[in-house]
Symmetry: C2
Subunit: 215 residues, 2 copies
């Protein structure tokens, strides 16, 4: 199955700005992209990066050998719907900020039955979809998990959901880095460790701390 991975080339993860510099956020986003693409590639499915601009060298380095890149500077929902409108076969759409995703996670997603399969993110988002219905279109704004379920019903599509912590964990905020250190084993986790992050336990609650800059 074609697995489309939207990637915002020039949009930093601003909610991580208290923790990471702009350049670090840029590099970290590419490490997360590399993890997602590697997980897809390991399943034998074909990743397509749906990029908002031409990929820079760091982002290109994240691409497995057989991946495609489509550049579309439209907003996310428009760009994904352009793909869906021209697709002749089922398409999966998997966000690029899901560094906990493993090959078995991708297999579960793709194996789930349903004309439209939705994997929720925290806060009502949609972190992954499989679309096997020609009429279904996305709208990522707001509580898109509920909206996508309603949209599937509206076009008469059967609905599947995937109950996955790994798919639900998009990395947007400093507390999410905890999850990457605990559950990640790819480029994003390696990058955090190299950048000096480690787990800390404070009064029983787990977070991350960063070492002082090393000389």
């Amino acid at each position: 199955m074609r697995v489309v991975v939207p990637f915002a080339v020039d949009q930093p993860k601003t909610r991580l700005s208290a923790t990471l510099s702009a350049d670090e956020r840029r590099v970290f986003a590419r490490a997360m992209l590399a993890d997602v693409l590697a997980a897809v590639d390991a399943t034998g499915h074909e990743p397509t990066v749906l990029a908002t601009a031409e990929l820079d060298a760091d982002a290109s380095a994240a691409l497995p050998d057989d991946s495609d890149v489509v550049v579309d500077d439209s907003p996310l929902s428009t760009a994904v719907n352009d793909v869906l409108a021209t697709a002749e076969d089922p398409v999966a759409v998997l966000m690029s900020d899901l560094p906990l995703v493993k090959p078995e996670t991708v297999r579960r997603l793709v194996a789930k039955s349903g004309d439209v399969v939705v994997a929720p993110g925290r806060g009502g988002g949609t972190n992954a979809l499989v679309v096997r219905d020609a009429d279904f279109r996305v709208d990522y704004h707001g509580a898109s998990y509920l909206d996508h379920r309603a949209a599937a019903r509206d076009v008469g599509a059967s609905l599947g959901t995937v109950d996955s912590f790994r798919l639900a964990t998009d990395v947007d905020e400093p507390s999410d880095l905890t999850e990457v250190l605990i559950h990640g084993d790819g480029a994003a986790a390696d990058w955090l460790v190299d950048a000096g992050f480690q787990l800390s336990v404070d009064e029983g609650r787990v977070g991350v701390v960063r070492e002082e800059e090393r000389s």
Copy 2:
């Protein structure tokens, strides 16, 4: 399989205190307990509430007909280990603040192979376990997901993990109420709706708002 559900009778969810009064937190905690017990009961497995004190009437009302109650005022890990030390058959341990858990979630947990099966919570916690090894003991303090994996290895137990958003979502903080309104369909979600909570979408992010007190 026996499914042990620890329940702190007198410990309010203090991190919800900005949003719910002490009495509301008490009632809401019992609604969450009822959801977890109903999900277990629907699978045909036998719930045992491991309570820190005698259950009050509201908590007793949450019990399915065939559930047991064990009162043990020890700290959580000690009380669970007391159960494990005397158990002759496999035991599952499922937290009581997981109102997104459905019967199919319990089935996935119990069906997972491994001498020790762990379902992570956010922030490195352990929200559910299946213990089929006589020597394994729990310690819920700190990053218990990692500690439980290490403890399983230490006793030579094979390890399984369950990748479930529903099992990962323990309800501790106001933002977690969003997940209950989006994904819950039981007593906890009903209670929130009756208490005036509803989803709100603000600049694309989803949260909850509470109606003004109705006269």
